[in-house]
């Protein structure tokens, strides 16, 4: 309460012309930042005859592009593919990265440091370098054109493990000791006692993993060859090539690929911004 009052008081006393100019410039910059998104959305609501009319608010808004694209069936399929892949990979990362991070942070055993350094060292290896061996592996085991083929490289990440280890180190040992004395087994201690204490880090990890996999393009492009298995970005790319100059259709596809993350953001803005800050500072 007092903080609110004082910050308000500060704002009142410091409304100088310079402040107003800075605010206005920031606001204009922000509007420019979202302009491409607005154009994308507005064009997706126009029919072919209005595309050349560059007004942001369509003269005759229509959802026909969406109905047409969704009734085609392919986009629904790609959407489902992307969702399944992003959700499973996210769950896997949240589970395994935090389990490993916890083990490395809270158990004392020989080899702990080597395991940590070994996992951390994989951060040095760019994905692009592993793509060819992964491709070879996927074709040998018949994983090409399958969900598992798209997902397997990302099921765990060193970044997530490192992030979780940092946070578990902040959990007091006394809590875990108390649980041990109560006779809980180690898995239950991790699951019931330790995990709930690091939920901000878990949500940051979940957000990053989901976003990264939802927007991923390079590996899904390589590992999928049949249109049924495309993820949304790969599907959109092939769809746009085939539409060539029907920009209203392409913008509708781009909107379908983009809207889910934007809508999630509107609901979870605070968590997402905090998550980015946490990951950036600790990671």
């Amino acid at each position: 309460m007092t903080a609110a009052v004082s910050s308000q008081g500060r704002a009142m006393s410091s409304v100088k012309p310079g402040r107003i100019v800075a605010w206005t410039l920031l606001f204009i910059g922000g509007v420019i930042m979202v302009t491409p998104l607005l154009f994308m959305l507005s064009t997706s609501l126009k029919d072919a005859s209005q595309v050349y009319d560059l007004r942001i608010i369509p003269a005759v808004p229509t959802l026909d592009n969406y109905w047409e694209i969704l009734s085609d069936g392919r986009f629904t399929r790609w959407f489902v593919n992307s969702m399944v892949v992003a959700i499973i990979v996210t769950i896997s990362n949240v589970f395994f990265d935090s389990l490993v991070g916890y083990t490395l942070a809270k158990f004392r055993f020989r080899g702990r440091y080597i395991v940590f350094i070994a996992i951390l060292s994989t951060l040095m290896i760019p994905t692009e370098m592993l793509v060819l061996p992964w491709y070879l592996m996927a074709s040998q085991f018949g994983w090409l054109d399958s969900y598992w083929g798209i997902m397997f490289p990302g099921m765990m990440t060193a970044f997530g493990t490192f992030l979780m280890k940092q946070f578990f180190e902040g959990v007091p040992d006394d809590f875990l000791e108390a649980a041990r004395i109560d006779g809980l087994n180690e898995f239950t201690i991790w699951w019931k006692i330790a995990l709930p204490l690091v939920t901000p880090a878990l949500s940051a990890l979940a957000i990053f993993t989901f976003l990264g996999n939802w927007t991923a393009f390079f590996w899904p492009l390589i590992v999928t060859t049949s249109a049924d298995l495309y993820t949304l970005p790969v599907g959109l790319s092939s769809f746009a090539v085939e539409q060539s100059v029907q920009w209203e259709k392409i913008m509708t596809g781009a909107s379908i690929a983009t809207l889910p993350t934007l809508i999630i953001f509107l609901f979870l803005q605070r968590y997402i911004v905090r998550g980015v800050m946490l990951a950036g500072l600790k990671g």
Partner: protein, 308 residues
């Protein structure tokens, strides 16, 4: 009471005779077993394999056989590689300073704004959540000639001549870079905001009491104290620009990396060598070069952080 119950349900014999330390050891390695298998099979083994493949002539039709450093000498003699090398570094040395300058200025002023702070922050952050492949198509549309292209439309309404953008060998690379910078700004701004907020306000109060001007406070307090954040962002965004692919591939699907290879980055060259020409060995050598470049950048970061 609960202890007694637990002892009864525990597996009898060996387990109950173990010391706490031994049990801990088994739990720890039990937790690590599946992840370690994953890291060995999906990370370490492929890493060694990539190095090995880079000294073979493996193609889709021909099994790998050892050819020494042939791929590397071929790469060194390949004019396309040097063109691509130049492009990749252009993305880096244009993209990193421009994006960091913009994001620092925005964050610096946004940090002081109270009125509609989170709304304005959201405007800058939203592009970060978009799919690069999708946004490349939006920007591709913007760069079209009139009457369809938005940017040329705006230019012509001011009487400025039409620009070729993606059709020009000199303008295409900056035109491809723009959406990459645009999409990354939101992340950098948030990280800068976090760095700025971590500076204790007492430092500023003391500086004001000492009568330092705003400019002097920026130079002597703010900038030195956000240096770790800055170093992190320099490395993070450098790596991002060196690995640029999605935007380049989608913004010109008729001739990815064109016109005349003027926008082709290393990752796109790798992709085409491996999956259009099917010269896997040659592509593997290119991935090793990419790895060495990224390694050099990371080591430089460690060096700078230690000097701090």
């Amino acid at each position: 009471m609960s202890i007694a119950v637990h002892w009864e349900t525990a597996p009898s014999g060996l387990w109950s005779r173990m010391s706490l330390g031994q049990k801990q050891l088994i739990w720890a390695w039990g937790f690590l077993a599946v992840p370690l298998l994953f890291y060995v099979v999906i990370r370490f083994w492929p890493t060694f394999q990539a190095f090995y493949l880079s000294v073979t002539d493996w193609t889709i039709t021909r099994p790998a056989s050892f050819v020494g450093f042939e791929n590397y000498t071929r790469l060194y003699a390949d004019p396309l590689f040097w063109q691509v090398f130049r492009n990749t570094f252009l993305y880096l040395i244009l993209g990193t300073p421009i994006s960091l300058l913009i994001s620092f200025v925005v964050a610096y002023y946004l940090d002081r704004v109270r009125f509609m702070h989170s709304f304005i922050r959201a405007l800058y952050f939203l592009p970060f959540l978009t799919t690069a492949a999708a946004m490349a198509w939006v920007w591709r549309w913007f760069y079209q000639p009139v009457p369809i292209g938005v940017i040329n439309d705006i230019l012509s309404s001011f009487g400025i001549p039409q620009q070729p953008f993606l059709r020009s060998t000199s303008q295409a690379l900056p035109a491809v870079l723009a959406p990459a910078i645009w999409a990354g700004l939101g992340f950098q701004i948030i990280i800068f905001l976090a760095g700025l907020r971590a500076i204790p306000t007492t430092y500023y109060e003391a500086a004001r009491i000492d009568g330092l001007s705003e400019g002097a406070i920026l130079r002597r307090i703010t900038l030195p104290l956000v240096k770790p954040t800055l170093v992190f962002l320099v490395v993070f965004s450098s790596i991002g620009f060196l690995r640029i692919f999605d935007q380049v591939y989608n913004i010109n699907t008729n001739d990815p990396g064109g016109p005349l290879n003027s926008t082709k980055p290393l990752v796109l060259m790798i992709y085409q060598t491996a999956f259009s020409s099917y010269e896997m060995g040659y592509a593997a050598a290119q991935t090793v070069v990419l790895f060495l470049i990224l390694l050099a950048i990371s080591l430089l970061q460690l060096r700078i952080m230690r000097d701090r």
